[in-house]
């Protein structure tokens, strides 16, 4: 009996130990997780900002002054120490995010989350993320060991932090998911840069367009997806003289289009990923100094994508937004220049149909069989056996779709040609920009930049302003890569690249300002093939009209423009709809909503109802117009908003206006009413459920935690106006992820803010402390220290000292 009891109590003890020590489903291992000596209670603290820390490999002391925003101002005595310190400090404040993002980039999330992430991981592997990172490292090993050395310094800094970290101090997410940080490597920096490339140059519609061309014919396709819209206010002003370009566009080879039917395609980055930047010249500035602004529009996440730092070494002193994993300042300024980026969308992904031989070891090219190479992707899965995926590579790039992935054709695959696979030296551009002293330095820094193509805005204390559209762009024949191409025909290969010096650019234009907002880079006079690749058509016009509206602009004007909520898209359609809609059948409730939107002045401010009505109305209308695109098992992309509105106003009787499933023949005017009634129905429901549909309430802007938006670590109902296609581009979970304004005084005076906080620890008051000010349109002044001395704004100083091996 007593042995039975002993056995029972033994089993019970083992049982409770197992339950409390093991992650079960989404529930963390509760004993490990909650115990106060090593669990989450140890994370109830802010990061230390004083004292001395000894770091192996450091050559000299590095001083780190923290200001009250927890921005580290780093003073190193050589560049190698500077990047070690950057790695160390980034890890100290953002370790989990730093690592998680590169796991996401590499397609390794199954390792930490489990089988649920397998499809995501396979997609990233097949997209060639790891392959691209390998190419970048190989390029640097061959051509630029200095940059690679700095990347190694950064890795050493990150690892110095990880090595000092005891398990009780692991960031809370490690405890929640029950895993431990691994060593940082240079490849992870390359992966992070691939992650950015995917985010900003990883989208294309070639396969969707191929389906649309097949289903609707060329005439309809060209009407729905024109290369240029009827309005175009390009980044590089229209009057630019291109006669200096002496390299012709690749001639058209008369290759046939391949009209295959593709049922589904891999996940694409958010099409709203974009940005604004602009600069005014000294003559156009109220103070006589050029002023520059940048606000990248990205997903609103916590921890935020940006981490603000000042990075100073004897030969340079830069400050601004950094990205955990990349070296140097990405969007910022130094003592001489300021710079910022917006995305320069261009079609740098093309698709090739591949025909395999019987045993899938070769593919057809130029009338012969060419060998495939195989990259085996070994995907580790938490709690399960690894998944091995063999990805076939052609000279174009990886065969993303084949019988093993999103396709069932045995001897046919679709290969991806992507600039992201070309290797390159993007990191060098940032390192050089951080040190640049003038326009020439800026131009030579940009030469290293391949992808994602960016509109780099520039201003200097010398008084120059400029904007280069920099990337490595294939010199395509007219129409190349708009649709799926035959991968066996050499004419379809990229025949070469546009020489870097012929990339579109503008310096000190007569109009006194430069700007970009992801619109068309050029008009159709630019001698190379550029077509509409999802270019923005609204923000740019509001911005350019603003800068044409008066003679001088101040920092306050810049702030106002960042926070401008004018909805040009609505303003271009709502009056037309109100004028042409038959209102005789509206009920009293519908009429009330009609009057509300009629009174709206097209500002997406938080207490307006107009923006909510517009969203509902236009959303319903858009889907009614493009009901022809709801085709089962066929990947399709609906036309862009600008062209939709153009067609509604100019081709209201077109066959696409008809709703296929009704017997009636609808026109645009019928759709206005039908959509309005549906929208009103939904708005009344919202009113019933939530009390009202004011814009702040309707939109419910939030910053979601990087780990599947965990509500406990996220911020909800952030009261901010704006929307996509508005200069203040804040939609539900996307928007200005960093706002910076720099006046080119000597030294520059800058303000900046982002929706997050400097600490990645949800237990720190610095985790999300910028969000309220950001929502209100406020900025914090960026304390640009001119020497290694703690000024009044500094609340703590930490010294990183070399660790001496005795």
């Amino acid at each position: 009996m007593k042995y039975t009891k002993l056995l029972l109590s033994f089993l019970l003890t083992i049982g409770i130990f197992f339950v409390l020590n093991t992650k079960l489903g989404d529930i963390p291992p509760l004993g490990k997780f909650l115990n106060p000596q090593s669990g989450i209670w140890q994370n109830e603290t802010d990061e230390a900002i004083s004292g001395e820390i000894s770091i192996p490999g450091l050559e000299e002391n590095v001083t780190v002054h923290y200001d009250e925003q927890l921005i580290p101002h780093v003073f190193a005595q050589n560049e190698s120490d500077l990047y070690k310190a950057q790695g160390y400090l980034t890890a100290k404040h953002r370790l989990w995010q730093l690592e998680f993002q590169t796991f996401a980039a590499a397609g390794r999330l199954s390792e930490i989350i489990g089988e649920g992430a397998l499809n995501y991981d396979r997609t990233e592997r097949r997209r060639g993320m790891g392959y691209g990172a390998d190419q970048a490292i190989a390029y640097m090993e061959q051509h630029d060991t200095q940059t690679l050395g700095f990347i190694q310094d950064y890795a050493d800094g990150v690892n110095a932090y990880i090595d000092q970290l005891s398990p009780e101090n692991y960031p809370v997410e490690y405890k929640l998911l029950d895993y431990t940080p691994e060593k940082w490597t240079p490849k992870k920096t390359a992966l992070l840069l691939m992650y950015m490339t995917k985010m900003l140059a990883g989208g294309d519609e070639d396969l969707e367009y191929t389906n649309a061309l097949r289903l609707f014919g060329k005439e309809n396709f060209d009407l729905l997806f024109p290369d240029f819209f009827d309005v175009n206010d390009p980044i590089i002003p229209k009057e630019t003289d291109w006669s200096f370009i002496d390299v012709p566009q690749t001639p058209h080879p008369n290759a046939d289009v391949v009209l295959d039917s593709i049922s589904e395609t891999i996940e694409k980055p958010n099409p709203d990923n974009g940005s604004n930047n602009w600069a005014v010249s000294g003559e156009k500035s109220a103070t006589g100094h050029p002023i520059l602004a940048n606000d990248p529009h990205l997903g609103l996440n916590l921890p935020a994508i940006w981490f603000v730092m000042q990075l100073s070494a004897p030969n340079h002193n830069a400050m601004g937004a950094t990205i955990p994993g990349a070296l140097g300042v990405i969007s910022g300024f130094n003592q001489h220049i300021a710079w910022g980026e917006t995305n320069a969308t261009r079609d740098v992904i093309d698709w090739y149909k591949i025909e395999f031989n019987k045993d899938r070891t070769q593919y057809k090219y130029d009338g012969q069989w060419k060998d495939l190479t195989i990259r085996v992707e070994d995907i580790k899965i938490k709690g399960k056996e690894s998944f091995k995926d063999s990805v076939l590579y052609t000279h174009h790039g990886p065969v993303v779709y084949d019988q093993n992935f999103m396709s069932d054709e045995e001897l046919v695959g679709y290969a991806m040609k992507w600039i992201g696979h070309e290797g390159g030296n993007n990191q060098k551009t940032f390192l050089e920009l951080n040190k640049a002293k003038n326009y020439d330095d800026y131009v030579s820094a940009l030469k290293y930049w391949n992808a994602p193509a960016q509109n780099f805005v520039f201003a200097s204390t010398e008084g120059d302003i400029a904007l280069w559209i920099q990337g490595k762009f294939p010199n395509k024949w007219e129409g190349q890569g708009k649709f799926l191409m035959d991968g066996s025909n050499p004419d379809n290969d990229w025949q070469g690249y546009i020489p870097q010096e012929f990339n579109a650019k503008v310096k000190n234009p007569e109009r006194g300002f430069v700007s970009s907002a992801n619109q068309h880079p050029v008009d159709d006079n630019y001698p190379f093939f550029v077509y509409n690749d999802g270019y923005e058509t609204y923000r740019n016009r509001v911005i350019n009209d603003f800068f044409k509206s008066k003679a001088k602009f101040s920092v306050q004007d810049f702030k106002d423009l960042h926070n401008n909520n004018y909805n040009l898209k609505a303003a271009e359609l709502v009056p037309y709809m109100l004028e042409h809609m038959d209102t005789s059948s509206l009920t009293a409730e519908e009429k009330a909503i009609y009057n509300e939107i009629k009174a709206w002045e097209f500002n997406n401010d938080i207490d307006e109802v107009g923006p909510s009505i517009w969203r509902q109305w236009y959303g319903k209308l858009y889907n009614m117009v493009w009901d022809e695109f709801e085709v089962e098992d066929t990947a399709l992309e609906k036309p862009f908003a600008y062209q939709t509105i153009y067609l509604l106003k100019n081709h209201g009787e077109h066959e696409f206006m008809d709703i296929v499933e009704t017997d009636d023949k609808e026109t645009a005017k019928n759709l206005f009413l039908l959509a309005f009634k549906k929208a009103a129905e939904r708005l009344l429901e919202i009113k019933n459920e939530e009390g009202d549909y004011t814009w702040a309430n309707y939109k419910g802007t939030y910053a979601g935690h990087l780990l599947r938006g965990l509500p406990a670590f996220s911020r909800f109902d952030i009261p901010i106006g704006g929307d996509r296609n508005i200069v203040n581009a804040t939609s539900e979970n996307h928007g200005p992820s960093w706002r910076m304004i720099v006046e080119m005084t000597t030294p520059p005076t800058a303000i900046g803010i982002y929706p997050g906080g400097q600490s990645g620890n949800p237990g720190s008051k610095y985790y999300d402390n910028f969000i309220d000010d950001w929502a209100e349109g406020k900025y914090h002044s960026l304390n640009f220290l001119q020497s290694n001395e703690a000024i009044e704004a500094i609340i703590g100083t930490q010294t990183l000292t070399p660790a001496h091996n005795e």
């Binding site: 109590s9 409770i16 909650l34």
Partner: protein, 118 residues
């Protein structure tokens, strides 16, 4: 001294000491050891170490959290569906520690019975 009180104090002190160099299950080790050397009777076998560790973990977590405005505790209390109440999280923390300790103490008690009879 009352044996219950003695066990209570011994569990608490031993748990504190072991926690300095063992992981979270140091409290199970402590409860098991005290149950071996200071055996209790009936329900007290479980409840005395249960309360000792509940007190230890709840007070320790209160001390760590109160200095930081309960910033993280509030969030974790959302994560674990405790309505964002940091005190509820401390109580849950204490109960989990107490449960593990109490069960380990039962094993200790059974072990002491087997050993003493031999």
């Amino acid at each position: 001294m009352n044996k219950n009180l003695l066990n209570f104090i011994a569990t608490l002190v031993l748990a504190l000491l072991l926690s300095l160099f063992l992981p979270w299950w140091s409290i199970m080790t402590a409860a098991l050891a005290t149950a071996l050397f200071i055996p209790l009777k009936k329900a007290a076998v479980f409840f005395v170490p249960f309360l000792a560790i509940l007190l230890f973990w709840a007070v320790y977590s209160l001390m760590l959290s109160s200095g930081n405005d309960y910033t993280l505790a509030k969030r974790i209390a959302v994560l674990l569906s405790l309505g964002g109440n940091p005190y509820a999280l401390m109580l849950v923390t204490g109960i989990i520690g107490g449960l593990a300790a109490g069960i380990a103490a039962i094993l200790g008690k059974q072990l002491s019975l087997v050993l003493s009879k031999n």
